[in-house]
């Protein structure tokens, strides 16, 4: 990518991180904080709720559990692709990127199905606003991740990557894993915690 490139010195005592690696971790920290504040708002509002929380009954778990598994699997596939690049198997990298994209699109599709099954909308009440905004923002992050994966796939196909030049893959992978971890937290908070009677 056209950003600062790191060329390690011959005598460097330890492996050198790329600036892209540092940069994406900073993005992950600040984006993570953004989701933390959204979830803070969810629990804050829930703790003040006078009636039942969630007001429309506990969310259905089955479909979303499958969807969670799909997203986790995509992270595994991408990890395998990244490892393959380390060994110089760029074809495997491309396969992994393509599969990850497909799984990401399936995740968004299933999320759409779940949205359509909800009896309430984002303008129903505060819970609806929180539910759709939090899952919607996560979905938007998945969409951005898919664009990054697709760009990385095109670059891989054009031969941009090799075991010694793979910052673009690293950055995309860190972001994608982050989006998955955020989903685990969102899933636990919005779907699982009501069943545990946390609030």
């Amino acid at each position: 990518m056209t950003s600062t490139r790191v060329v390690p010195l011959a005598g460097a005592s330890r492996p050198v991180r790329s600036l892209g690696w540092w940069g994406i971790w900073m993005v992950v920290l600040t984006e993570g904080a953004f989701f933390a504040f959204l979830l803070f708002s969810y629990f804050y509002t829930g703790s003040l709720a006078r009636g039942a929380w969630p007001p429309h009954g506990n969310p259905e778990l089955t479909l979303t559990s499958v969807n969670t598994a799909i997203l986790l699997a995509s992270s595994g596939v991408l990890w395998w692709g990244d490892r393959s690049l380390h060994k110089g198997h760029t074809r495997r990298l491309m396969i992994a990127l393509a599969v990850t994209i497909v799984l990401g699109v399936v995740f968004l599709g299933v999320q759409g199905v779940e949205y359509s099954r909800k009896a309430f909308g984002p303008d129903a009440d505060a819970y609806g606003s929180l539910f759709f905004t939090i899952t919607g923002f996560h979905g938007a992050h998945v969409a951005v991740g898919i664009i990054m994966l697709a760009t990385t796939l095109v670059r891989a196909w054009r031969g941009h990557f090799a075991p010694t030049r793979r910052v673009g893959v690293t950055v995309t992978a860190i972001y994608w894993h982050f989006v998955d971890v955020v989903w685990l937290v969102v899933f636990t908070s919005l779907y699982v915690s009501p069943h545990l009677g946390v609030l």
Binding site: T2, V6, L19, T45, S129, I147
Partner: protein, 641 residues
């Protein structure tokens, strides 16, 4: 890495590599952190003037009881935009300006870690500022106060675009602040000159580093709040609507979780300026450097634990109010440590009364007044008494003018000679200082009394019988003096640019790396990458700071003139581990910023086609920006990982 001495005739290659062509395209595409820093400074001062004009209108309206110079509605817009402008478009960006210009110079690097992101962050800042100010053109400027409390700011009570400008404008500006913070952090971690270990950082950098980390965690709270308010207003959602299970207090929590750290964002780097300038004019190193650095970091961390002291009158549980009151007392301790260090530095030094030092002395006085009134409002019963009164207005202006504006103007007198190559007039500087100092106190000190007398903030006028007329008139007169002082300062800058005495490399006899360079510094900053072996590389012969080490080497080092190159070092010890090849000038940062502006305009109108066009343009611009150039692909090894 080859170590060579560069003589004057050898820098031609560096010049050709780093110089931005003097064309319109060059102007729009430059990534030179020095030019970006100057742009930040100039733009921030333009916003200071706009915010000052708004303040002037407010003070004119309040000069006498029952005046009607302004309509109540316009008055609301003016005080809101005054706050928004000063806090978001002046106070933080002006510090980013100094940081941008001096960050690489202080650490012996040739640019920031992400030069294009740096250009991008400036363009987003200026476009977000313009976006916010176009609200005046349509007569619907934000009018809910700078902290925009719900439910007043909900669509039911404030229809129109006013608050949509606010939420979208702050979301837009937040992008600039966040990427700027990331750039400062990563630059500091990776680009310090060999030997510039973390314990040798120039003290100014601890302020901006702490601030940048705070921004990463605080800014998302404001962004989340603005997203929610926008959705409440535009999509019929109910985050802050108690009738539908929401909470109006949620806005206050989110806003102040952001807002209090933000106070430290606009003061900690300025306190870093103070810790930089006081030692130079006291002719000795800062007393207790490690304690001052630690107190800076501690203030940044504690700053996240005091937000509810802005909400003492909102009806929180006693136990949580006690906690936040105690935390607010505790946060005075690190400030006290820094203050003691400054006093001790002056006490044990040989102070020279030049203009930058005068501004630091002014700062010390204002810091005490603002700090003491801060501790006072940290006490819950006292806070209840003065909440939403002019006492709070007095406190926050002593803090913000005292700890931001005075150090900033002092730093201009200190650092502008490096930036422009010309000294500023001492005589005009003294006039500017005394006018500003007297004007500041005459304007804001009476507000303490008015607050205790019960004058509420944000009222558009007040009755004749209230007995507030004399003090208000005094304040308005003080504003004239204060503004005159700022004008004298700006005039002195203009005079200096035209016929200031040449500054030379180190007019103040200061100790940090930027003063080893010519004034103004060349495009490539350092002809060779220096090796630093002490906290005061230019004072080593005087203070024996390097101890048993060899002295710092500023004349010999890596030349790295085969491209835009600088040295990458390890995080703590700054051992050289890599050569960094940096990207050059590019139009993509500007185009990406314009695409984001398009998206925000689409959301404001609202117009789906414009929004979609904006979003698509953003994606296209970012991909084009990051797409490698052919030369890079040929260049072989990219990175280790």
């Amino acid at each position: 890495m080859t170590t060579e001495t560069v003589r004057l005739q050898d820098v031609g290659q560096l010049e050709r590599t780093w110089e931005t062509p003097r064309t319109i395209r060059g102007w729009l595409s430059t990534v030179d952190h020095k030019r970006i820093g100057v742009r930040y400074l100039v733009t921030a001062f333009v916003f200071l003037l706009l915010g000052g004009i708004e303040a002037g209108a407010i003070r004119a309206q309040l000069a006498r009881p029952e005046l009607h110079l302004l309509s109540a509605q316009l008055y609301n817009e003016l005080f809101t935009m005054h706050g928004v402008t000063m806090l978001f478009l002046y106070a933080a960006p002006v510090l980013s300006g100094f940081s941008n210009y001096f960050w690489p110079l202080l650490i012996g690097a040739r640019d920031m870690a992400f030069p294009r992101l740096n250009a991008f962050s400036y363009w987003v800042f200026v476009l977000a500022g313009i976006f916010l100010y176009t609200s005046f053109l349509v007569g619907q400027a934000p009018n809910g106060g700078w902290f925009a409390y719900t439910p007043l700011t909900e669509a039911a009570y404030t229809p129109g675009l006013n608050l949509d400008y606010y939420t979208l404008g702050l979301l837009f500006l937040g992008i600039s602040t966040t990427v700027g913070a990331i750039n400062f952090i990563v630059t500091l971690i990776t680009l310090r000159a060999p030997g510039l270990s973390i314990n040798r950082l120039p003290i100014f950098m601890w302020g901006t580093l702490t601030t940048s980390v705070s921004v990463l965690f605080a800014m998302p709270a404001l962004s989340a709040a603005c997203v929610m308010l926008f959705l409440d207003r535009r999509a019929g959602m109910h985050f802050f609507d108690p009738a539908a299970g929401g909470s109006t207090l949620l806005w206050q929590h989110l806003f102040w979780i952001f807002g209090h750290p933000w106070v430290y964002v606009v003061v900690l780097p300025a306190m870093g300026l103070v810790s930089t300038i006081i030692p130079v004019f006291s002719r000795r190193p800062l007393v207790a450097y490690p304690l001052v650095a630690l107190s800076t970091v501690a203030t940044g961390i504690l700053g996240f634990g005091v937000w509810a002291h802005h909400m003492f009158a909102a009806g929180l549980p006693d136990i949580s109010m006690s906690f936040f009151s105690a935390a607010s007392m505790v946060i005075a301790i690190p400030s006290g440590v820094a203050f003691a260090a400054w006093i001790a530095t002056i006490w044990t030094g040989r102070p020279t009364m030049r203009v930058p030092f005068l501004f630091m002395l002014g700062f010390l006085v204002l810091f005490v007044v603002g700090g003491v009134s801060g501790v006072m409002v940290g006490v819950i019963p006292f806070d209840w008494q003065v909440t939403d009164s002019y006492f709070v207005v007095a406190h926050l202006h002593y803090v913000l003018l005292g700890i931001n504006l005075f150090p900033v103007v002092g730093a201009c007198y200190y650092w502008l000679p490096k930036i422009t190559g010309r000294m500023l007039s001492e005589r005009l500087g003294r006039w500017a200082f005394w006018l500003m100092f007297i004007g500041m106190n005459v304007t804001f000190f009476p507000m303490h009394i008015l607050g205790l007398l019960g004058m509420p903030r944000r009222i558009y006028t007040y009755p004749l019988g209230a007995g507030w007329g004399t003090l208000n008139l005094t304040e308005s007169a003080g504003t004239v003096v204060l503004v005159t002082g700022i004008v004298v300062f700006l005039v002195s800058v203009g005079v200096s640019l035209r016929r200031g005495a040449p500054a030379g490399a180190n007019p103040w006899g200061a100790s940090t790396l930027e003063w080893s360079l010519p004034s103004p510094p060349p495009a490539y900053n350092f002809a060779v990458i220096p090796t630093v072996r002490s906290r005061h590389p230019l004072w080593e012969d005087r203070v024996g700071d390097s101890g048993t080490h060899a002295p710092s080497e500023l004349e010999r080092g890596a030349v790295l003139d085969e491209g835009r190159e600088t040295v990458g070092t390890t995080m703590l010890d700054a051992e050289p581990v890599a050569v960094l090849r940096m990207p050059g000038d590019s139009l993509w940062p500007l185009l990406t910023a314009l695409a984001i502006a398009l998206l925000f305009c689409g959301l404001l109108v609202p117009s789906v086609p414009i929004s979609v066009a904006g979003a698509t343009a953003i994606i296209a611009c970012v991909i084009a920006w990051l797409w490698p150039e052919r030369a890079e692909l040929r260049a072989g090894a990219e990175n280790s990982r």
